[in-house]
């Protein structure tokens, strides 16, 4: 395993250096659609961060050991947009799409993570936006359902 980690680390470093696909300052990283003023809004990383961020540390099925995430609470996003809607249709860069109940995201304090262990996350590290639940805070979250709702490389969210 340490061996793999070493390889992967080099892979991440390599890709991070050579292919800064969305490194452009002010580029849109997330688009939100739905029943709110304007009906559609795009966010750059800086804009998202400006909404205020939260941090928690948790273990996940996709990481070794505990990881600290920092990002905007989904509830905060809803609050800022004054958005209505029961369901968030979340779509990833790889076209993976899933319907998540807004209530579930809000109640279970899911965040739109922008940083992992203090670093912005590139696409190769599930970035730039990663919906993550505080799994360690509530053992009931550790189910396939919430794993499937933890979408990485999030591109857009449609509130319905």
């Amino acid at each position: 395993m340490p061996f793999i980690q070493r390889i992967l680390a080099s892979l991440v470093v390599l890709t991070g250096l050579c292919l800064p696909v969305q490194a452009a300052e002010g580029a849109t990283v997330l688009t939100v659609e739905g029943q709110f003023d304007g009906g559609r809004r795009s966010f750059s990383l800086a804009e998202l961060e400006a909404l205020g961020t939260q941090t928690f540390t948790t273990s996940t099925p996709w990481h070794d050991g505990k990881v600290t995430f920092e990002g905007v609470a989904f509830a905060r996003l809803m609050e800022v947009l004054k958005a209505q809607g029961d369901t968030a249709e979340v779509t990833a860069l790889n076209a993976y799409s899933i319907d998540v109940p807004v209530d579930d995201l809000v109640t279970n304090k899911a965040i739109l993570a922008l940083k992992r262990d203090g670093q912005y996350m590139p696409v190769s590290d599930k970035g730039p936006v990663f919906i993550i639940y505080p799994f360690d805070a509530d053992p009931a979250l550790n189910t396939e359902v919430h794993y499937s709702r933890s979408v990485w490389q999030v591109r857009s969210i449609a509130l319905r």
């Binding site: 793999i4 790889n94 590290d125 599930k126 490389q153």
Partner: protein
């Protein structure tokens, strides 16, 4: 059977407990199986990796076709996505899956290396050669990712199968346990039903017992007649009922039942009681609204309603008394027994009808004391009598101790010369509240309450002590009661008293009546002989009133006969009486027995008695019973008869003829 079922039930309960333990254990292991089942599914991330590398190949192909900058950016994005996928595969749960097989681990390392080596080609997409190289290498990478993804899928399937298998195994065990629980439960239900049946049987038995007890609580066990409790309830009801006529209560007592019990035995006594109860309830059942009860012993009570008041009640009571007096044919023989009945009728004047049973009882006591074998109607004076009687009874012991009851002495005089030759000690009671109480009243009370022995002893002792203060030629007579005579210690008592008082035995004369001797002749005669051996004289009192006076003369060597006053009273009018006295005197003198005549009240009687040879007389003519101090004064002038004034006075206070 019950024990077996109980054991089986205990086993069933233990089995249930065991099954519950196994079940809870199963649930825990179930939990872990389910936890395993909900673990992160690596098949999905494996599948997505395969999809992503395919998408990357598509993007490269599209760029090759279009040469579009957006398509180029897409290729770069998807390359990053695939890199991200491999990052995901290398860590967390998928990382563990990769590491679980060294071969897979090596393959994965190759995959990562290969993908890393593609990066320069992605940067040079515009170059056809690089692009072609990229397409070729991506095929190899796709194949490798397919392989690992496929393995992840099958590993996931295997894990799911293992979980299913474990669940199936647990299900089987659960099925067995459920079956076991059901069977044990059914077994318990069967036990429950059985126990229910036993319980209802026990309940039925208990109910029967309770009914029996209820009957016994309210009925007399011997005669099955209602008992006192049932009678009082019925009586209270009868009083409350507003019906025409009056309620009457009969208190019935058999005369001499104790003697029958003593002579024929308790079994015969019980048989007689059953027969009496039977006859009583049959007779009473002929009367409307009447019922009989047994209070215990030979005490029966009847409650009835009479329309014509007291006269009808008296008639019915008399009829019943006659019916009960008919002979009873028992297995041991025919028994004739009389009944005495006390009657109380609730007339409109009766203040408290609830007192009827008490009143009937009082009337019964009254009749028992005076006229056995009759019906006695209650009279209000009986209640006062009872109160007085109870007072006397309760004060008796203290009166003996305090000397309130003390002997007085009636002179026995030689009718030839008027000299006092002896005195008869007679018990007298001066009660501080009730005043003077005659012996005819308190002696029977003392007898019935068992205090007569103490009374007799106290009088004897006092009389002996006081006799020592009298001239030596004066003898003192003291009466013995039956209760004293049947006691084994009488002789010792007399001896002890004589010793203590210092009275010469020759000066003491003990008087017994014929009826006392009749009660237990052999024993009494034996006692009297012992007394006589002490030197004490024995007199036969009330001679001539009993049944077989002459045979008693033969049985014992009497020192003296006391001719009953009834003969003396009638000598003036009935010449036979005088002849009888003359004959007795003649007979006695033949046998060497002295004669004293009692109840001499007139000079005429004295002269007649002297004429037929009587020497010693006792009676009011010679003086009534007086205390020692007065007697002492008399003895100083012994030849003189009592002064006329005093005599009259004494007769007033001691008017009862049976006093001596």
């Amino acid at each position: 059977m019950i024990t077996l079922v109980r054991r089986l039930a205990i086993i069933a309960v233990l089995g249930l407990g065991l099954a519950a333990v196994i079940y809870s254990h199963l649930i825990v292991s179930h939990q872990s199986t389910v936890d395993q089942a909900k673990r992160y599914d690596i098949a999905w991330t494996g599948f997505n990796g395969r999809l992503e590398v395919t998408s990357l190949r598509e993007r490269v192909a599209r760029f090759a076709a279009t040469g579009d900058q957006d398509a180029a950016n897409d290729v770069k994005l998807f390359f990053q996505i695939v890199v991200g996928r491999l990052n995901t595969w290398g860590a967390g749960e998928f990382g563990k899956f990769i590491a679980s097989s060294p071969l897979r681990e090596a393959r994965f390392e190759g995959l990562v290396r290969d993908l890393t080596s593609l990066e320069p080609l992605v940067e040079k997409l515009e170059e056809p050669q690089a692009r072609a190289q990229l397409m070729r290498d991506l095929i190899a990478i796709s194949t490798a990712m397919d392989r690992i993804g496929g393995e992840a899928y099958s590993a996931s399937l295997n894990e799911a199968e293992a979980v299913r298998k474990s669940l199936r195994g647990q299900l089987t065990v659960e099925t067995w346990i459920t079956g076991l629980l059901l069977s044990l439960g059914s077994l318990l239900v069967v036990f429950l039903l059985l126990q229910n049946r036993w319980l209802s049987r026990a309940h039925a038995t208990a109910a029967t017992c309770a009914a029996n007890h209820a009957f016994l609580a309210r009925h007399d066990a011997l005669t099955s007649l209602p008992n006192r409790l049932a009678f009082h309830d019925a009586f209270a009801l009868e009083i409350e009922r507003q019906r025409p006529g009056c309620v009457a209560v009969l208190a019935i007592d058999l005369d001499g039942f104790k003697a029958i019990n003593d002579t024929l035995g308790h079994t015969a006594g019980d048989t007689l009681l059953i027969a009496v109860g039977d006859r009583l309830s049959k007779f009473v059942s002929l009367w409307p609204e009447a019922s009989a009860a047994r209070f215990g012993g030979d005490e029966f009570v009847v409650i009835l309603r009479v329309e014509d008041g007291v006269s009808e009640a008296l008639d019915k009571a008399e009829n019943l008394r006659r019916a009960l007096a008919e002979p009873y044919r028992l297995p041991d023989g025919t028994v004739v027994i009389q009944a005495t009945i006390g009657l109380a009728v609730a007339t409109p004047a009766t203040p408290d009808p609830m007192q009827l049973p008490d009143n009937a009882d009082l009337a019964l006591s009254h009749a028992k004391a005076r006229n056995k074998g009759t019906v006695q109607l209650f009279d209000v004076t009986m209640r006062a009598d009872l109160t007085r009687r109870r007072r006397i009874e309760s004060d008796l012991i203290a009166a003996i101790a305090l000397g309130e009851i003390s002997p007085q002495y009636q002179p026995q005089v030689d009718m030839e010369n008027g000299r006092i030759v002896g005195v008869e000690a007679l018990a007298r009671w001066t009660h501080p509240i009730l005043g003077r109480i005659g012996p005819d009243e308190f002696v029977p009370i003392a007898e019935s309450s068992g205090k007569v022995v103490e009374l007799g002893r106290a009088i004897l002792e006092r009389a002996c002590a006081e006799a020592t203060l009298m001239p030596a030629d004066v003898k003192v007579s003291v009466n013995l009661s039956v209760a004293q005579l049947v006691r084994d210690d009488l002789v010792d008592t007399v001896q002890e008293i004589l010793g203590r008082t210092g009275l010469s035995p020759a000066r003491l004369k003990l008087e017994v009546t014929e009826s006392i001797v009749m009660s237990d002749t052999d024993r009494c005669i034996a006692t009297l002989r012992k007394l006589k051996q002490l030197g004490v004289a024995i007199a036969l009192d009330d001679f001539g009133t009993g049944y077989s006076a002459l045979s008693y003369l033969r049985l014992f060597d009497w020192d003296e006969l006391k001719v009953d006053r009834s003969f003396v009273r009638s000598i003036g009018s009935d010449p036979h009486s005088l002849s009888i006295i003359q004959a007795v005197v003649g007979l006695a003198s033949q046998l060497g027995i002295k004669v004293t005549v009692e109840g001499v009240e007139t000079e005429e009687q004295r002269n007649l008695l002297r004429h037929v040879g009587c020497r010693i007389g006792q009676g009011y003519l010679f003086g009534a019973a007086v205390p020692l101090n007065i007697l002492s004064a008399r003895l100083l002038g012994t030849a003189l008869p009592a002064p006329a004034g005093r005599r009259a006075h004494l007769r007033l206070v001691d008017k009862s003829p049976s006093a001596s």
